[in-house]
Every structure is written in C-alpha cells, then in structure tokens.
Assembly symmetry: C2
Homo-oligomer: 354 residues x 2
DNA sequence: TGTTAGCACTCTCTTATACTGTTTGCTAAA
DNA sequence: TTTAGCAAACAGTATAAGAGAGTGCTAACA
C-alpha cells in the first residue's frame, strides 16, 4: 500500500483534489498557499507538485498551467485522504419520506431508489434488481374479475413483483380460481422466480396440470418473463447536464450522449458493473471508466444491498464529489435494505393463505 | 384565411420549409432551383423570396444569407402545404406490440405511451392522464394478506389505477374484508375518483362507517391522493439531444436545460397545454412556444384522447418534422383510446362482484 | 539537504485584421 | 414579368499580436 507520501505532499494533493472538485479549474501553487495558509513559499509547493506529478498523481493540461488530478490521484484521494460528509437532516428526511408510501411494486421501489440517488447526489443513480434466481415466490393472489378474466398478483419475499388483469381462453368458476390459487401457493411457495418461470415453460402433463391451471401458469410465466427482462433502473441523467455544461461547454453534449449510449445497452452495462465489483461487498469506487466507450470521463460508485445480491450506484463526472456521493449511497442502500427485508415481506410471511 | 399565395410562392415556401427541416441550414435561391427544377431563374426566385419575406413567412439570419422559415411560415406550412407521412409497417407493428402486454396499471400504460410517442417521432412525448373527476370507480379488490395487512387494488372504468399492500391499525377478519369490499363496491361503484377521495376525507360517522371501514376508506383515499398528484408522464427528452446538438452546437445545452426546467413544473405545463388547446379536439399544433421561458424554440403537437378528456403530445424543435409527428401522434392516440375503452374495462364491467 | 527569491519561458485567452466564398439586392435590359 | 450582371454584406476561417497566469530552473540561503 502506497499510502506513504510525505505529509506535506499529502496535504497538497488533498487540497488540489478538493479544490478541483469544488471549482473545476487547474490549481496553481499560489492558490494552495492562499487557501491553506501553509507556512512555506510557493516555490516549495511547486517542488512538491513536481514530485507528485512524477509519481503520477497530478498532471498539467498544458506546460505552464496549474495542476489537475489524474485518475491515480483521485484513487489515492478516495482511498486515503477523503472526508466523508454526512447527509444533512433535510436530506435524510427526504429519503425517509420517499419510502413512506410503502409496499409498492418492487419495480416501483427500485425506480424510486434510483431517482432518489440521483436527486440527492445531483448525479445519475441506478439500481440493479436482485437476481430472479435468488428471489423466492411467496404467493400469488388470484381474484376473479369477469367470466374469463382474473386479477393476478405475484408476491415474492421482497414484495409485490408483478400484477395485471389477464384474459384466459375458457370461462372459469370461482371455485376453480380458489383451487388454483391454493395449489400454486402450496406447490410453489419458496421456489425461486427463475425456477417458477422454468416450470411454466415446460409442457408437462403431470396429474395436477389440468387445463385451467396450465393456463394460469402460462400467464404467470409471461408476467415473470417481462419482469426478468428489466435488468436496470436508471434515473437522473439530467442532473449531469448543468455540471457538464459548466465545466466543458463544447464537449458537454458529446460526453453526455456518450453516457446515454453506454447505458442504453443495459446488459453490457450491468455485466461491467458486476465485473468491476468482483466479489467485494460494500462501497466500490471505480474512477474514470468502466471500460465502455464514452465512459472514460465518468466515475461510478456502487454498493450492494443485502437481500439476494442486488447492486445500486451513482454515476458522476470524474471530478465528482466523492465524499458526498459515498455517504448518500451508503445511507440510501441501508434504507432500501430495511424496506425490502422488513416492511412488506414480514407482513406477508406471517399469514399463510387460509 | 390567407391560404391565397401565388402558386409559385407557395411552392417556394414549401420547398424552403421542407428543406430547412431536412438539412437545417438556410435555403438559398440556387438550392431551390437545383432541387425543384423550376423553369425560372434564380433572380425570379429571389424576387418571390423577397415577397415572402415582406409577408413575414421567411427571414434571413443575416443580411446576405439564405432564408429560414419564421413561425408564421411554419404555421402556413402546417395549415396548407404539409404532406402527412404515414407510419411504416414496422413502426405500426412497434406500436401494436408495445400495447400487447395488456391491462397494466393505467399509470404504466400512460408512461408507456409517452415513451412510445418519443421513440417513434424521435422527439419527446408526453401524456396527461384523464382528469380524476371524470374517471369513475369500477370496484376495489381487497385481499387479506396477514392479520392486519391487506392487498388493495383500485379499478376504474379505464383499468387498474392503484394497488398496494397496506397496514391497518387493528386486526381484521376474513369476513370483515369481504363485507367491506361488498359495501364499498355497492356504495361507490360509478362514483368519480375525485368524489371518492372527497368522501374519504370527511370524518362523518354515518351508520355504515364503522371503524374497519373508515380505515379502509382512509387507505383508499391515501392511494388516490398519490395518484391524483401525478399529472404528467413525460418521456424521451434524450431524443432531442442529438438533434439540438447537430444544429445549434453551442446553444444546444442551454435550450435543452431550458426545456427540462419548463417541464419540471408539471402543473404550469399542463395548464399551458390546456390553455393552448382551448376547446378544440383532434390535433393541435403550437409552433414555437408555449409561453414559458425556455420554450420559445420548441413546438408542441397535442391530441386529445377520448375517455374523459386526457391529452397527449409530442415536443420537438421548431424545425421538427411536422408531417411525421402528426401522423404518429394521431395513430398512437387512436391505439390508446382502443386500449383504454375496450380492453380491460369491458372485461371488468361484464362481471359484477358476486 | 531542504527552502526561497528571481527571472525567462510557455501556453491560454482575447482582440484585431485580412481574406475567401456565398448570397443577396438592385439596376438595366430583354 | 423575367433575366443577367454586378456591387455590397456578412459568416467563417486563418493569422498575428499582446496580456496574463503559472511553471521550471538557477543560484543563493539556512
């Protein structure tokens, strides 16, 4: 671990990164003195800056300009120098309130969370939902609406997963509906959503697979399929606009649309995120570039959240305020865990369909 | 009606608008000759262009440049000269497929529609949901999930409106749940959502308002409140990025964020849209400017859709492809009407809760 | 060995100037 | 009414010059 830099150089590096994040302009030796009040001359600072540059922590946009941090510089900053900044009371309140309307569809909660991440950090937020192979069916609810239409609600161990009014091919009796509900809930409770979907695809003719049940399963499968295709909730790109605009006016649009394009391909993006995290847990900061075209200038902070290995994160420019974003992310990740494991599912698992 | 312009001038105006929409650069007298093969000289065309300019249909960015359309020019073009261009088979298929997964929550359908509008036109799409005062409750579905938790689904004449698992203060029996459902559906069927919400707010102690029912109504009211606060579904802003970028690189970001800000204030935006439409029905084209800051450079095409007076529309740059956008909008409006009035609700109104 | 003062040098950013090419408006003739 | 021809207007680009900010380096100093 190369956390070993001479004390003054550490101070100077920290100041350069802090200041560059705040004002987004190259930092000169003078500025550091003015702000920090080090009791040395600017020449001394310049010497240190030279060392830092040789070591690869900072660089100059052109020969005689102030310095800006390199990726390695940000890395060192995040790993050893950063001050985490707690969320304000008002912000914490905003988070709590957002989750107050509870027990929505899980998808809605994810979208909300992504939105919240974006809003609080003022960057873009995203949530990758738990894998369907690790989410278990709690039960389904079937309610007859018309002669051949039923309301179907799918509830998993993390909440409502899908719902819809669906048409069947044949008329169905109220007794049938109750029997089917009973059977599905007995046989499939605790089975992973993936496995359920698999089952619905097989055209087995086992005993209890009579026609109405087969149809119900088919519908169930179709709903689950739609769900499992949704791999990413991404919100708040627009927060990046003004920031990019202010700091690199001419390239702003290019970078922006680069990011959009990169995120468009959800599968590749999600893969890349998992690849970057490896098997680490907690916060992971990737500085400058997921290795996707158009992402070199962006940093990504991710966190896992407990039930069944979902991941959430924040994407901002490489000069983002890491301290704030990290605090916000871990706070919100925590809240989401609470919502998912405690709120709905506990209520659900208490009562078994009677 | 001033559709009376000399024939050649009409041709020239049409060509100028068409060409400017296509290539986004001032149109010179030469270009018109090259493209159209008029059998006159460029000087003649210039004379006509002069007349058109005096009449206010076109203008010059600077003294010796080609001409670009004014708002009045676009207006005339849309009203008298435009060629509507049908959607391709592939695009129509895309629309139909998008609505295939039927009977979602109404809100989801709206979002989907906005998204679709944006995608097909390559501009931004929006949908204003039907007013809650004109949407009627069909029924509610209550299902017991735990000792004091129930699943509540609200169904209106245009489909599922809200749903969620909600906690009550007291334990509740299965018989209670059935009785409450029965009472609510008998008393409130056909009542407007607004009125239902109003009822739930009153703390009357009429006979049938015993404690569990009051609680159920309270919950019902809370869900409806959340819903009625959602006045606008807006999707596809990002489609505007590349277009703006290509044609006005430096101001692109400003205009873009101007639009964002204008749409942020949902209520004001929705009001403005209604104001612009007045009491007209069908397609309405507003060229350059809802009178909101940051909207001067954008045009808005709106259409109402039948059940209960919702509005949907497309927002694009003032040089947008009006022909395509208008076709797309009216096609999709048609589809949405079909979905809303025929698909779910018919099924629903057939069977009355037994 | 680490620190400081002084100075030449580098590079951005802004402003001024000239040049090219396109397109128009106007005039006079057809 | 239409056309040909020509002067004038202006965007856009290229080039040059000057101001300002900041560095690197050298030589002196503690």
């Amino acid at each position: 671990m190369e956390k070993t830099l001479p004390e003054r150089q550490r101070l100077i590096l920290k100041e350069i990164v802090d200041r560059y994040i705040r004002l987004r302009e190259p930092v000169s030796s003078r500025m550091i003195l003015d702000d920090y009040g080090l009791s040395v001359s600017s020449a001394t600072v310049r010497n240190d800056m030279n060392d830092l540059e040789e070591a690869g922590y900072i660089e100059k946009p052109y020969a005689s300009s102030g310095r800006i941090p390199t990726k390695k510089g940000y890395r060192f900053f995040v790993d050893w120098l950063i001050d985490l900044s707690e969320l304000t009371k008002k912000e914490r309140l905003e988070v709590v309130e957002a989750y107050e309307v509870q027990c929505l569809e899980v998808g809605e909660t994810m979208r909300q969370t992504a939105f919240l991440l974006g809003n609080i950090t003022e960057y873009a937020g995203f949530v990758i939902p738990p894998r369907p192979e690790e989410t278990r069916l709690d039960r389904v609810v079937l309610v007859q609406m018309g002669p051949r239409t039923v309301l179907l609600v799918i509830v998993s161990d993390i909440g409502i997963v899908e719902h819809g009014i669906v048409s069947l091919d044949d008329d169905i009796s109220r007794a049938d509906v109750e029997r089917i509900t009973e059977i599905i809930n007995t046989e499939l409770h605790g089975v992973s959503l993936n496995a359920v979907r698999g089952l619905t695809l097989q055209d087995r003719s086992d005993g209890w697979y009579e026609r109405p049940i087969r149809q119900a399963l088919l519908v169930l499968g179709r709903l689950l399929e739609r769900r499992s295709s949704k791999r990413l909730y991404f919100e708040g790109v627009l927060n990046l606009v003004s920031d990019l605009q202010r700091s690199v006016p001419d390239e702003a649009m290019d970078r922006f649309s680069g990011l959009i394009r990169a995120v468009q391909d959800e599968d590749a993006f999600v893969e890349e995120i998992y690849r970057k995290r490896g098997d680490r847990s907690g916060l992971v900061v990737s500085i400058g570039g997921l290795r996707r075209e158009g992402m070199e200038d962006f940093s990504v902070i991710t966190s896992d959240y407990r039930p069944h290995g979902g991941v959430m994160g924040v994407i901002g420019p490489i000069w983002m305020n890491y301290g704030r974003a990290m605090s916000a992310l871990s706070y919100i990740a925590n809240r989401l865990e609470t919502i998912l494991v405690s709120s709905c599912p506990r209520d659900l698992s208490e009562g078994v369909e009677k």
